[in-house]
C-alpha cells in the first residue's frame, strides 16, 4: 500500500474524529462545508500550479498514481484534513475562551 495514500486518508479520518471528540461539530455547520468548497475551488489553480510546474515533485512510489489534471488525488484528502483540523481547533479554542 502507498504511504502517502494511507497517511492522507488517515489524516482525513482523524480530522473527522477530532471534530467528534472535541464536540466542536463543525462538520454539522453549513459555513464549514461552504468554506471547504471555496477552499477547494482556489486549491485547483494553486495546487495545480505547484504540481504542473512542477514546484513540488511527487514520488510515484508513494502515491496511488491517479491525478486530477496534475494534482494527485491524495492531495484532496490531505487538504481536507488540513483545513478541517484548523477549523475544528479554531472553534474549540473559541469555545474555551467563550466559556471562561
Amino acid at each position: 500500500m502507498k504511504e502517502y495514500t494511507l497517511l492522507a486518508a488517515g489524516s482525513a479520518v482523524l480530522a473527522l474524529l477530532l471534530d467528534r471528540f472535541l464536540r466542536t461539530a463543525v462538520t454539522c455547520r453549513r459555513e464549514y462545508w461552504i468554506a471547504l468548497g471555496v477552499m477547494f475551488f482556489f486549491k485547483l489553480p494553486s495546487n495545480g500550479y505547484l504540481t504542473w510546474r512542477p514546484i513540488v515533485i511527487y514520488n510515484p512510489a508513494h502515491f496511488f498514481g491517479v491525478r486530477l489534471w496534475t494534482i494527485p488525488l491524495e492531495d484532496f484528502l490531505y487538504g481536507f484534513g488540513l483545513i478541517t483540523f484548523t477549523i475544528v481547533l479554531w472553534e474549540y479554542f473559541l469555545g474555551r475562551e467563550g466559556s471562561q
Binding site: E3, Y4, L7, S11, V26, R30, E31, Y32, I34, A35, V38, M39, F42, S46, Y49, L50, R53, P54, I55, V56, I57, Y58, N59, A61, H62, F63, L82, I83, F85, T86, I87, L89, W90, Y92, F93, L94, R96, E97
Partner: protein, 104 residues
C-alpha cells in the same frame, strides 16, 4: 525563477489577508485562539512533512524555491502551513459572516 513558490504563497495570502482586516470578522478579536489553532496544526504538519520528505514522498524543485532550507524543507514549505491555516480560518469566518448577514 526560484521565487515562484513564494509568489504562489503570496497570491494565496494577499486577498484573504486584506479582507480579514476590512471585514468585521471574529479572527482578530480572539488572537489567542487564532494563534493556537495555526501553531498546533502547523506544528503537526511540519513534523509530518519533515519525516515524509526525508522518506522521499515528494521533493522540491530547486529551480523554483529559495536556497534557505531547514530540516530538508525549503523556507516556503514551512510558510505554506501558516498561510493555509490562516486562510482556512479566514474563509470559514468570512462565509459565516455572509450567512449571518443574509439572515441564514
Amino acid at each position: 525563477m526560484n521565487n515562484e513558490y513564494l509568489i504562489v504563497l503570496a497570491a494565496i495570502l494577499v486577498f484573504p489577508l486584506i479582507l480579514s482586516v476590512v471585514m468585521p470578522l471574529r479572527m482578530y478579536r480572539h488572537p489567542g485562539a487564532l494563534l493556537r489553532a495555526i501553531a498546533i496544526v502547523s506544528a503537526v504538519y511540519w513534523v509530518w512533512d519533515v519525516l515524509v520528505t526525508s522518506r522521499g514522498h515528494w521533493s522540491f524543485n530547486p529551480s523554483y524555491v529559495l536556497e534557505y532550507r531547514l530540516l530538508g524543507l525549503p523556507l516556503e514549505e514551512w510558510l505554506f502551513f501558516v498561510v493555509i491555516t490562516f486562510v482556512s480560518v479566514f474563509t470559514y469566518e468570512a462565509v459565516r459572516l455572509v450567512i449571518r448577514r443574509k439572515g441564514g
